[in-house]
């Protein structure tokens, strides 16, 4: 939602935003350009948003029904009753729900790849030095997983502490998330080095200049941002090769913030360092400073995000209740306690007992 509004603001004439949709219009009808990555992006982002929303809400239905059944106040009975769509927990409904979740999960996975690939096409199909690279699609996908995990890690660690969810979000989860962070961070690192190598190997003087003078050169106006990005995204996550560090909450939290900063600077490096100096030195700008409007939009996304996030964690289940019930019934301590007798038995006695069953 937050990210999706930016393309609209960047259109400038926001009130003409619907021009991106292919509808029969009075201008011919002049259709939109289906050969353009910008239009692919319109479809990719809107599909991604819609499918994520459906996947999210359909998975939430059984849990909203649980809240409805336990609601005590009049307004909450009404509200959750409305939100749960009349979910009953019928076996047939569960069967369909499982089928739906499976297919939606299967559809969402290639959708993640496609949306980030197409976003990277916006850059990669242009002729701007530093953008015109074929490695962009996998690099953006890895970067998205990387920054996504870091962002989730930041929010999860605080939410876990505040809501006392230590029993549900265990050290095991944090550990494996950190493994994903070190893996994707390293993939991103390889992508950085590859595009650096290719810019030299391509023998295109403009391409090499963009990397050598605008990024690598620490004394150039934005050299610091390139090295900050490298440090935060590639070097610092390497600490997660150590199990002790992966399982340290403080280190994890600090690292997740570093990765958030690093990935923000990745966007900054890609956009600013490529276009503040283009082919004509006469049009070079010495230093880019954001206007108050740009800062305002950015702060606004924080406001929108945290408003939604806090409202959700206040009124909606932060843990997938039905899934946890399912797991507890199979692997919970109280379930396993029932197996004490069997576990104390000798193997022969157990086998003797079981063989009579069938």
């Amino acid at each position: 939602m937050c990210a999706g509004q930016f393309p609209i603001w960047h259109m400038g004439r926001v009130w003409n935003g619907f021009f991106v949709m292919p509808y029969p219009n009075t201008r011919g009808p002049l259709w939109v350009n289906f050969n353009s990555p910008l239009l692919w992006d319109v479809f990719a982002i809107s599909t991604y948003f819609t499918v994520s929303l459906l996947f999210w809400y359909s998975g939430l239905l059984p849990d909203l029904a649980t809240l409805r059944d336990r609601a005590k106040l009049k307004w909450s009975k009404f509200f959750y009753g409305l939100a749960a769509f009349g979910w009953t927990g019928s076996t047939k409904h569960w069967q369909r729900h499982e089928a739906l979740s499976l297919v939606l999960a299967g559809l969402s996975t290639p959708l993640v790849l496609s949306v980030h690939t197409i976003v990277s096409f916006d850059f990669a199909t242009s002729v701007i030095p530093g953008w015109h690279t074929t490695i962009f699609p996998p690099y953006f996908v890895a970067g998205a997983v990387f920054s996504g995990f870091a962002m989730v890690q930041t929010l999860l660690l605080i939410t876990r502490k505040v809501l006392g969810l230590e029993q549900y979000i265990t050290m095991e989860h944090i550990d494996v998330m950190n493994k994903v962070i070190v893996l994707t961070g390293s993939i991103v690192g390889i992508a950085y080095l590859t595009e650096l190598f290719m810019s030299w190997y391509s023998a295109s003087p403009y391409e090499w200049f963009a990397f050598k003078e605008n990024r690598l050169n620490l004394n150039s106006p934005y050299g610091w941002s390139y090295w900050l990005m490298m440090g935060c995204n590639v070097l610092s996550p390497q600490i997660f090769w150590f199990r002790k560090m992966r399982r340290n909450i403080l280190v994890t939290f600090f690292m997740s913030i570093l990765v958030n900063i690093g990935m923000w600077f990745e966007r900054f490096v890609i956009i600013v360092t490529s276009i503040y100096r283009d082919y004509l030195p006469s049009s070079w700008s010495t230093y880019y400073t954001p206007t108050i409007w740009e800062i305002g939009f950015y702060m606004g996304t924080f406001g929108l995000f945290f408003t939604c996030y806090f409202l959700f964690s206040k009124f909606f289940p932060v843990i997938a209740i039905a899934e946890i019930k399912h797991i507890l019934k199979k692997n919970g301590d109280s379930y396993k306690a029932g197996y004490d007798k069997e576990e104390m038995e000798s193997y022969d006695a157990f086998e003797h007992e079981q063989s009579h069953h069938h």
Binding site: P29, N35, P110
Partner: protein, 143 residues
Amino acid sequence: MNVKKFVVGNFYEEAVLFPAVTKVRRAGYKIHDVYTPFPIHGLDKVMGLKDTDLHIAGFIYGITGTSTAIGFITFMLAFDWKINFGGKPFFSLPAWIPIMFELTVLFAAVGMVLTFCWLCQLAPFVKKTTSTCAAPMILLLWL
């Protein structure tokens, strides 16, 4: 009058529920439904429910999306209003694959969710119609 009679059972364990369902069905009673707080795998089989065809519907919605995309784009760019984009052919299929993929996924997802809600009669303010079997029996599982 046509008064429906239900026998309700409460269950806490799958190990008890499964044989109960089998025995009740073998005795010739019709099970109205089993309500569970989470999906119990295999219960649909024991109850004699058919597999859902929801994924087949999803596939049909998906190919509808693909053909919608290719059909409309072909009509717009190759027939209705031809524009020369950098000397490329009017029918430039490779460039349309991303949008064909997106519409496939979009149609499949939206169609499946709507079908799911329609089949299960899930929507705000919708009263469910109860089944009309003669002597139904509800088994309740509450964990």
